[in-house]
Symmetry: C2
DNA sequence: ATCAGCATGTAAGGCGTTACATGATTCA
DNA sequence: TGAATCATGTAACGCCTTACATGCTGAT
């Protein structure tokens, strides 16, 4: 596995659950995972090829029935071991880049209304995301007894808890900016 | 300004407040800003040189008194305009990469205790960060009447609000993982 | 007929980190 | 004397995104 390329463990994690094509992997990343990690085709396909060479994944079969070829990947024993090592490593880097907070921090040179407006834009995004997460939560609650689902459920509640905190902060911040 | 290089606006934002050297800029980024943005010498110095060529900043003076040369930068009119445009742009991308959540999401293949342990590591980091932010908050509350400080204050309260939400989630998540 | 979705991949280029190089000053 | 801090910068390298290339299938 490449030293700092986290897309590898994302792929491994997904394949540990079921066999998937590169295209399927992209769809999964664009789902619930997108709230805390992103990935593009341009990183997924090269990673799959590298990982195959390293014996972390293997081609299950190549459906050429019909149109374009379709390569289904399966995780190998070595791949499962790599995933296990990563899960048991204590270090985890959480790299956050909030351009919204940057604009807030440096907003002192502009009128207060600019900052308030930027907060409102952020608020709208968060509100939208929160709605989506609440739907995910409802769906997951119905199948919580199934293995793995508790992990998905917890990432969703993490998102809900933090987005609700964001919204509380937005209200307070707007109030302070308008009052003082 | 480079199209997607956000370090430029960080530098511009800092210089809008006071003249600084590249070294000073790095120190500031490593302070309160580090909770929502990062930057290394390897990105700061080349950016300063580019921005000087573009007329966004200029060398105020070069102190060669004593040891190593010391280049103090000042923002120009063009730099202020660029900052203004950025602050008024509606789009702001908040790019989050939580390796902790990745481990949580894919934790289903390991024992529950591994996930609990990973949450505990995260919890400790957050607790440490929260303490630091609370100190920042206390110091800022004493000077809230000064211009700019309200913006710094709000980013700090954002951090506190979200870190407290993280801690609440950690307690709940550990409980659920131990009970079920 | 045309557009969206399925499906895999490459190429160019940007951004950023880490490590290195250099050297003075200050403090223990 | 040696370590930490001040101070600027480069080089190598890696990761990732965007855009492009290709072409089928199914629905409107």
């Amino acid at each position: 596995m490449a030293k700092d390329r986290k897309i590898d463990v994302v792929i491994l994690g997904l394949l540990a659950h079921e066999n998937l094509t590169g295209y399927d992997i992209k769809k999964q990343i664009d789902g619930a995972i997108s709230f805390f990690w992103k990935g593009s085709f341009g990183s997924i396909y090269p990673a799959l090829n590298d990982m195959e060479k390293q014996g972390l994944v293997k081609r299950k079969k190549t459906d050429t029935a019909g149109g374009r070829e379709k390569i289904v990947y399966q995780i190998t024993k070595k791949g499962k071991d790599t995933l296990k090592v990563w899960l048991n490593e204590e270090k985890a880097t959480n790299d956050l880049k909030y351009e919204t907070l940057l604009k807030l921090y440096f907003g002192g040179t502009e009128d207060r209304s600019v900052t308030v407006h930027n907060i409102e834009i952020f608020e709208e995004q968060v509100r939208g995301n929160l709605e989506v997460l609440k739907l995910y939560k409802e769906n997951l609650e119905r199948v919580l007894d199934q293995e793995d689902h508790i992990h998905y459920y917890l990432t969703v509640t993490f998102g809900i808890e933090t987005y609700e905190a964001y919204l509380r902060w937005c209200s307070k911040a707007k109030k302070i900016l308008k009052e003082k």
